[in-house]
């Protein structure tokens, strides 16, 4: 399910750009961050829950990353480093507001598979067609936002922004097994909630077109 996005695979170029920026070519920073704008914003949104705060957090994270660029270790991926800065920025703001109860990212996991999926018979509409319906987009967005924080941030990075399991673990300072367990739970929670809802909004005449898997 991985899709190579943005600068992934272009690590050497990224390293060269970072070296040039540190050498004084600061305008290259604009180019360096372009492939990461979306994932940083989505990470911020998953914490802040509103667009204005998420945008503020994303801007601040990019600025902090620039100021700390000399501390960036080349063995890490720039994208995962940016995400960890974003996460810190978002959590600090929420802590300062103190209005939102924070869930620890380090809570121990229960046994995997605690969520039973929706036992539906059939929901196989072609996904791209489903997205033409605003109602479907709204259902999906609400379901993702409603995930508990520890599952949501893993799901956002791994399945929405298509980072690898290892990158997700690194960005969130989690172990790889913890990422896998949380990802599975998040997916099953979404399947349980969304599959019956999506099935209900799919027009019957469209069900004849199935994905060929």
């Amino acid at each position: 399910m991985d899709v190579q996005r943005g600068s992934r695979g272009g690590d050497r170029d990224e390293a060269t750009m970072i070296a040039s920026i540190l050498a004084g070519e600061t305008q290259l920073y604009h180019e360096l961050i372009r492939p990461h704008e979306r994932s940083v914003y989505m990470m911020a949104l998953s914490y802040m829950k509103n667009e204005a705060d998420a945008e503020d957090v994303a801007q601040e994270a990019f600025l902090k990353a620039f100021r700390a660029l000399a501390n960036f270790r080349a063995e890490a991926k720039f994208g995962t480093w940016l995400i960890s800065i974003t996460l810190n920025e978002a959590r600090n703001r929420l802590r300062r507001k103190a209005a939102v109860p924070m869930e620890s990212l380090d809570v121990p996991d229960d046994e995997p598979g605690a969520v039973s999926p929706a036992l539906l018979r059939d929901w196989r509409e072609v996904p791209s067609e489903a997205l033409e319906r605003g109602e479907v987009r709204s259902l999906i967005a609400s379901a993702v936002e409603a995930l508990p924080e520890i599952y949501r941030c893993v799901f956002v990075l791994r399945d929405m922004e298509e980072m690898s399991v290892n990158e997700t673990a690194e960005a969130l300072s989690l172990s790889v097994p913890a990422v896998k367990v949380r990802l599975h739970r998040a997916r099953m929670m979404l399947q349980k909630q969304l599959a019956p809802q999506l099935r209900a909004v799919v027009p019957a005449e469209k069900k004849r077109r199935w994905f060929p898997w």
Partner: protein
């Protein structure tokens, strides 16, 4: 070897990601070929992943990139390249 549906559900993520062992893979595959319910669960889970990965579900706010680069340009003393000035 016959396995229960509940056992299959625990492996749906691994099956979708292709991270199961060869033995698990065969076991799940065999079950899926004969179980309509689990097969539908797998398909719906996969569809939901395809949908959530679509950029149209969570779109960046209009002008996000322009505002970001304008702020960076102002604070870093750089020119935001071909980025148009912020409409703010």
């Amino acid at each position: 070897m016959v396995i229960e549906c509940k056992h299959v559900w625990n492996h749906i993520s691994g099956y979708l990601d292709g991270t199961l062992t060869a033995e698990e893979q065969v076991m799940i595959q065999t079950h899926l070929e004969h179980c309509e319910i689990c097969s539908a669960i797998l398909d719906s889970a996969r569809n939901i992943l395809v949908l959530t990965a679509d950029d149209r579900v969570f779109e960046l706010p209009v002008g996000f990139s322009e505002r970001l680069h304008a702020r960076l340009a102002a604070e870093l003393g750089t020119v935001a390249g071909d980025t148009p000035p912020s409409p703010m």
